[in-house]
């Protein structure tokens, strides 16, 4: 049984034109989000996770630009829509939750007003209807005494509570796809666990598909159905969560996993650091840090090699030579 694909990214390329040169922040990536799935994009800082999310929302700002590719949602290529139409898609069909809840909320409006605004921006309804709905949403995301707290300002909320409000705003129009960019990273461990649970609960309830961006493999193992591993703007490996975590193929994925302490209590770091993206290394972008580097890795960019129907890896160790 194959699940339905709800969002499909094909050969997406996003560049930033800086004074120092062109930065290929996202360099030719493709992946599918299945209906009802939680897809985790994992990678270190600068790997292009956030730019991928912003590209899907078409929120990449100058000097950044989406160069090519397709983002297909409901048989529509989002990159071909007019700005007005895209505005309609945002919020209605796809919504996004950002990392920092403090800067995602406007300090001079009450929480309730901000959630209500998110509703009236996309739906035709009276102010009263919208504010009743906002109260319900706040309750749904676990804000106690939501009626009273409706009139509170963001500074009266803690970090975890603010993030719940941002999630309520994202849910305002029941989007089919929710993109969450490190939503729990800025929060404390016990609060982080609460937010993760909230996401899983909301997925069940609204049959949403979620793209969850994180650098924390622990979080990934907790919530992911499928995983995309990114490094320096490219996808190194993608597949179902079990396959990628239990049988990682790419040396980078293996390296990331061995950076966490194993049963024996050893950690093995990946040598070196992420390369600058203005003059990235040729060939496979990971080759300067790779323990299994071969001659061909320095010359050519490895293609996506199919391991199984659902597991792909971009590495010459598993074939992919152009003979």
């Amino acid at each position: 049984m194959t699940a339905e694909t709800i969002l499909s990214i094909e050969n997406l390329k996003t560049c930033f034109y800086t004074k120092k040169g062109i930065v290929k922040a996202v360099d030719d990536i493709s992946f599918d989000l299945l209906k009802g799935d939680v897809l985790c994009i994992v990678g270190e800082s600068g790997s292009g996770k956030t730019v991928t999310a912003l590209s899907i929302m078409r929120l990449v700002e100058s000097p950044g630009k989406i160069i090519e590719g397709k983002i297909i949602l409901d048989d529509e290529n989002l990159l071909e829509l007019s700005p007005e139409k895209m505005q309609d898609v945002r919020g209605n069909k796809i919504a996004m939750v950002f990392q920092d809840p403090h800067s995602a909320l406007n300090p001079i409006f009450t929480i309730g007003d901000q959630v209500t605004e998110a509703i009236t921006a996309h739906q035709i309804c009276t102010k009263e209807e919208a504010s009743t709905k906002a109260t319900q949403l706040l309750e749904l995301v676990g804000i106690p005494m939501s009626k009273e707290r409706y009139h509170d300002y963001p500074h009266q909320f803690s970090g975890g509570m603010k993030q719940r409000v941002v999630i309520a705003m994202a849910l305002a129009c029941h989007p089919g796809v929710l993109i969450a960019d490190e939503p729990a990273t800025a929060l404390d461990l016990t609060v982080q666990a609460q937010i993760l649970d909230l996401f899983l609960e909301l997925r069940e309830r609204f049959e949403m598909s979620i793209i969850y961006i994180t650098h924390d493999l622990g979080v990934v193992s907790e919530i992911a159905d499928s995983i995309v591993v990114m490094y320096a703007g490219r996808i190194m490996e993608k597949g179902r969560s079990i396959d990628v975590l239990e049988a990682p193929m790419h040396p980078y994925t293996k390296g990331l996993i061995s950076c966490l302490p194993s049963e024996t209590g050893k950690i093995v770091p990946i040598p070196g650091a992420i390369p600058g993206l203005i003059n990235p290394p040729g060939g496979c972008i990971f080759h300067p840090r790779c323990v299994n580097v071969m001659d061909i890795c320095r010359m050519e960019r490895p293609p996506m090699t199919k391991i199984t129907d659902e597991h792909y890896v971009s590495c010459f160790l598993y074939g992919g030579f152009n003979v």
């Binding site: 270190e44 803690s158 509570m161 461990l189 609060v191 982080q192 924390d216 040598p271 650091a273």
Partner: protein, 315 residues
């Protein structure tokens, strides 16, 4: 092994004032009666959520903040009341590494000057000796001597943190307080820095007070672990003992909130304000195993097993 640092009932309150006459409204009880010791060559991990006072505790031990009450014994000498001029040797012996390596380095000083500054302040060596020492330190933290003339902005986060470590090491300290030294770094770089700190400890017999909120980091690096909640240590034990046999309900919940652990217990609510900590046991508002007296009587810290301390009415 003798104790390098011992603190007894340490308190640090920050007054909260308001209005024109700065009328005192209360205190933020950042550190509220903490006792612990750090042996020579040992790593004590200090875990807690944000706002629990772990950084303040680290800074108060180093006398970067003046304690309100309590005692600090450094190599069996009471330094609680010592004045600045008497502290020079203590300052050399106890160093700190900060969370954000970028803001802890002067952007206008070269890496070499930054490291050498520590040596100049403590009058160590002649100019040539110092330059040689800086080169050695750079090698020791996994960089090359040609970093000497570079500026912080030319370095990556991991490299900057290595400079922070080199600076702390320059004066051969006995204790390094590491305040979240890896939480600003990427996972693969985190692992590099942690391994570096472990190697240095083996080689130089340094003690660490390692402050972090990340439990796997703490588990990896510590010998003993202290769990802090709202200004108090609620549990303290050997690493393995603590992770395998957590006693305090807060520790239990904290460990089970580690992603990937089985039978998770998600804590309800959030950390209460340290200005108005709950009466009785400070954790009782979020505790699942709350007893009647938890809301009124504050539990004492007691030793359950060998070196396993817990502050809870259940035991």
């Amino acid at each position: 092994m003798s104790n390098l640092i011992e603190i007894e009932n340490l308190r640090k309150y920050y007054p909260v004032t308001r209005g024109f006459l700065s009328k005192k409204r209360g205190d933020v009880k950042a550190v509220d009666g903490v006792s612990l010791f750090i042996k020579e060559g040992e790593t004590l991990g200090l875990v807690g959520e944000s706002g629990c006072g772990k950084s303040t505790l680290g800074r108060t031990i180093l006398k970067l903040e003046e304690a309100d009450s309590g005692q600090i014994l450094w190599r069996s000498r009471d330094i609680t009341k010592s004045r600045k001029s008497q502290l020079k040797e203590f300052r050399r012996d106890c160093q700190i590494i900060f969370q954000d390596p970028k803001s802890s380095l002067d952007p206008r000083m070269t890496v070499g000057n930054s490291i050498e500054e520590a040596l100049i302040i403590h009058d160590i060596g002649s100019r040539e000796e110092r330059t040689r020492k800086v080169g050695e330190l750079l090698l020791k933290v996994g960089l090359t001597p040609d970093f000497i003339s570079r500026y912080p902005h030319e370095l990556s986060g991991g490299q900057q943190q290595r400079i922070g470590i080199a600076r702390a090491l320059a004066v051969n300290p006995g204790l390094i307080v590491a305040d979240e030294p890896v939480s600003a770094l990427d996972v693969s770089v985190q692992a590099q820095i942690l391994n570096l700190l472990m190697e240095l400890k083996q080689e130089l017999k340094i003690s660490y007070l390692f402050i972090a909120h990340n439990l796997w980091v703490i588990r990896y690096i510590s010998d003993r672990v202290a769990i802090m909640y709202l200004g108090k240590i609620v549990e303290l034990a050997d690493k393995n003992e603590l992770f395998e046999n957590p006693l305090h309900p807060y520790t239990e919940a904290l460990l089970s909130s580690l992603p990937g652990s089985r039978n998770r217990k998600v804590l309800r609510g959030e950390v209460p304000s340290p200005m108005n900590p709950p009466k009785g046991c400070r954790f009782h508002t979020r505790c699942e195993k709350k007893l009647e007296r938890c809301g009124s009587i504050e539990p004492e810290i007691q030793e359950i097993g060998k070196g396993h301390f817990v502050m809870c009415h259940l035991y």
